[in-house]
Symmetry: D2
Subunit: 285 residues, 4 copies
């Protein structure tokens, strides 16, 4: 039955009658609104819309719909998409040596709790190949060194292109991606940083947290831009600690919040709930 559900997403300058115009259009095309959310941001004056519709006819003509909606979209200057409710984005996971986020994502997609179409795992270390292979997912070892950075990225892009990758997840990937790479996949790379950003950017955030004596640990999932540990925040989670915890203890405690935060961010993205709003996000939960 799921093939009959679609999600219409749109962003445009805010103005009078937008909801009426769009819902009229849907009504005229015999699409039933199951769920809808709108938000007008007073700061950027943008209007955000996510509508889940059901088509009572089994096979809606998506091409026709797209053609017709295009006219309305132009009228209201809307960036939009109309996709299957379950989009299953073609996904690649980047990892280095830490396995907890990878393991968690592999498991979730395998039991269909996370609706992604996982095509590949790419790593700059060979260590995690077995975990990945056990799940029947292709593992690509792409060595990255100071001298071969460009070549390595070219190799990665080849792998990504082959599968028409829509989403890249950095699951504790310890290399910095080039600006070109980040721009090419703008809004399509999700990273997990193991601190409550903007606190403790950069290296060794658990050591930073330890030396400050904070009482709460955090993890932040965000879209990747060229800036290190910047980029629109999607999700944050925290856990309580106390004076007895060493940086090593924090790493172990942190694994759980890192995994959960990253999985939630990927879920919101794959359910087409997240919109970019300059350096921030709008998320319809």
């Amino acid at each position: 039955m799921n093939d009959k559900e679609f999600i219409l997403r749109g962003v445009c300058p805010d103005s009078l009658g937008l909801v009426a115009k769009v819902s009229n259009f849907l009504n005229e095309h015999n699409l039933f609104i199951k769920e809808s959310a709108h938000y007008g941001d007073p700061e950027t004056q943008k209007f955000f819309m996510r509508v889940k519709v059901i088509s009572p006819e089994k096979n809606i003509d998506k091409i026709k719909f797209n053609e017709r909606f295009k006219e309305l979209a132009e009228e209201i200057s809307m960036d939009w998409s109309f996709e299957d409710a379950i989009l299953n984005p073609k996904t690649s996971i980047f990892v280095s040596k830490y396995s907890h986020c990878l393991q968690d994502l592999l498991y979730r997609q395998s039991v269909n709790a996370l609706k992604i179409d996982l095509k590949s795992v790419i790593s700059n270390h060979p260590d995690l190949e077995k975990i990945v292979s056990d799940y029947g997912i292709p593992f690509h070892y792409v060595e990255v060194s100071k001298d071969n950075k460009d070549k390595a990225e070219t190799r990665m892009l080849d792998i990504l292109n082959e599968d028409n990758i829509d989403l890249i997840i950095l699951a504790r990937y310890m290399q910095i991606l080039s600006n070109d790479f980040c721009e090419k996949y703008y809004g399509k790379i999700i990273n997990i940083h193991h601190s409550f950003l903007p606190s403790f950017k950069g290296a060794k955030p658990y050591h930073q947290a330890y030396s400050k004596g904070v009482k709460i640990l955090g993890a932040t999932a965000h879209y990747v831009t060229g800036e290190l540990d910047e980029g629109p925040i999607i999700e944050q989670t925290v856990d309580r600690i106390d004076h007895t915890k060493s940086p090593e203890d924090m790493e172990i405690i942190g694994r759980d919040i890192e995994s959960i935060t990253l999985a939630k961010a990927v879920q919101y993205h794959s359910e087409q709930r997240v919109f970019l709003n300059n350096n921030k996000t709008v998320i319809f939960k």
Copy 2:
């Protein structure tokens, strides 16, 4: 500027084109949709809608709007209301001897963090009069005993009627209200119960929690029906405890979650976010 914001709420049987019909209507009446939320419950087949609109003209003719919307509402069998966004419901708080929830509500309304028009506090004990008077709110001591229950409720109803009370908050009020009373104010009485319902109904929930050795304490705000500690749940909050806590410690810890849970429930209600859905609630946050 706030006098130009309104909230349209509606509940009706779910069907095709509801959002289009309503948003068209709003559009034709030159009302700008600032925020909207819809939900179709698959279990009860009911459609719930809350729309916040702005009127660009300073003084919308609410009587005319109501007249015209009535026709549409009849067509789609919708229960509805169209009110100022800031409703400031005329409110009475019932208390006994515990002061923490009362104190918290008094303070919040005094700094306008809770938008209620507090008309009276009614108590079956004289103890809390000073707290209430310090805030300039009328305090009514209505003694309740086994023998005078009916008479006491009549007296309370008189006080409530005089102020056209729209909302009654039971802030740790230790008397049981009659079925008649509960029905008269159905969906307009909010109670705080000091447990994570449905656990620990009835008397001394902290003692019950202690004897079970639970590791988390809860508080539940719900609408009041004739059934003791039943009724649609609006909000729940929890806090962590451990083996060192006595029932008395739990009472002190519980004060914070009781106050916060009740305040949140009252806020959701006063912002017209809560809908009754049989024995449950739909809340647009």
Copy 3:
């Protein structure tokens, strides 16, 4: 260095001078107190003690220590143990068809985040064999039906005995164990129940939660007694839900809190932090 750390645990009737007696003893045996926690329960009048000590000599003579401490323990009527700080209890996991808790435990022990010596996984269904085998852990399929319950338990006991199992984890195991079995492993079986006990005991707790319209989901890890979903609570965790969640959604959300709650309970147990105190627990975190 860890081989030089030990944990002394004790429970006895509370009386004057217990801490002094024990710490003198440790001092005389040249054991350095790294961490210690005491608790005297006013209800049961029992004294609980957990002391982590370091031995500056590489090889403490545990047999000698035990001999000598026995005398003191008899004097103060103390039940006690003196074990390596990292005990690595020999563990068996029981499962049925749900894999999330199993998967989580398998991963944690594999990266040494959970210090258990996992000897076997026993299941009344063959479904999860591959997951277990991928980790190199023996998987035993023991069919359980109405008619063969006794025989099945005998078979399980054989498997457990062969490995001298100290800890059984019921990771969503859907069969009820016999009273005899529960008594034999009293204080050594940890179960995860997918509700905030004592709410929603028994079958289908997520459906119960749905029909009550609760706003918070819970999970409870507890020691198993003969009584269904009773037994001393070790850990509870909650997560927030709203009216849009179906029982099926709750199951997916619940997986995370079930896994985390069970893992925490197993960790506390394996770190020798949990004491039984009649139908409750004392836990030194």
Copy 4:
């Protein structure tokens, strides 16, 4: 019965036999250990100890105890105190115009949920006098301007000295105290900062949080040093927000976590649970 409970606190260089020495001493003086906690910090090599004892004799001779313990303390180089378990520190609250933390503290101490002996409220604005007077607490308006800073602090010190103040609570006090003042009351001034430190130091943290698009708000209670919004962290609390929240909404949401965080920090301090450990804290909960 509480007059017979005492708390012995101590900090000293870590070494073998400390617990034994102290517990022997207590035993010899017929003091019953009700609760005790120790911690040896591997980084600073300091040993921290908090022991709650009961004296079976109604009137322990505190002067004698102090005399005798002094010798032991010198032997082990321990900074220590031996005080009534309920210390009721003589307290002054500093405020400016925001009332929520003040209101919360006033209420908690009035119902004895917070065990402080509140002697005065000092403010650089006259606005909050009525709230304070309603509770029967002296209110001192001490104007602070660029030119009279020194004089104003002298006036404050006079007020504090008159009452022998042990604890100063900055409940959203918007003036910076001089280094001299901070040093004079080192470890005795608790401030609430309305962010999750070290994020968003300085002015307008809610505006900073808004512009970063964080998904979680925080509040931090810490001891005050000369450095702005630095100083050992005592407690932190967070709450979830989303894209719909303006800085003004955050301020209202933030009130609750600010009040609770500050109240918890004051409670830990007044219960003698907090130890300074260089720029961090050790807290025995």
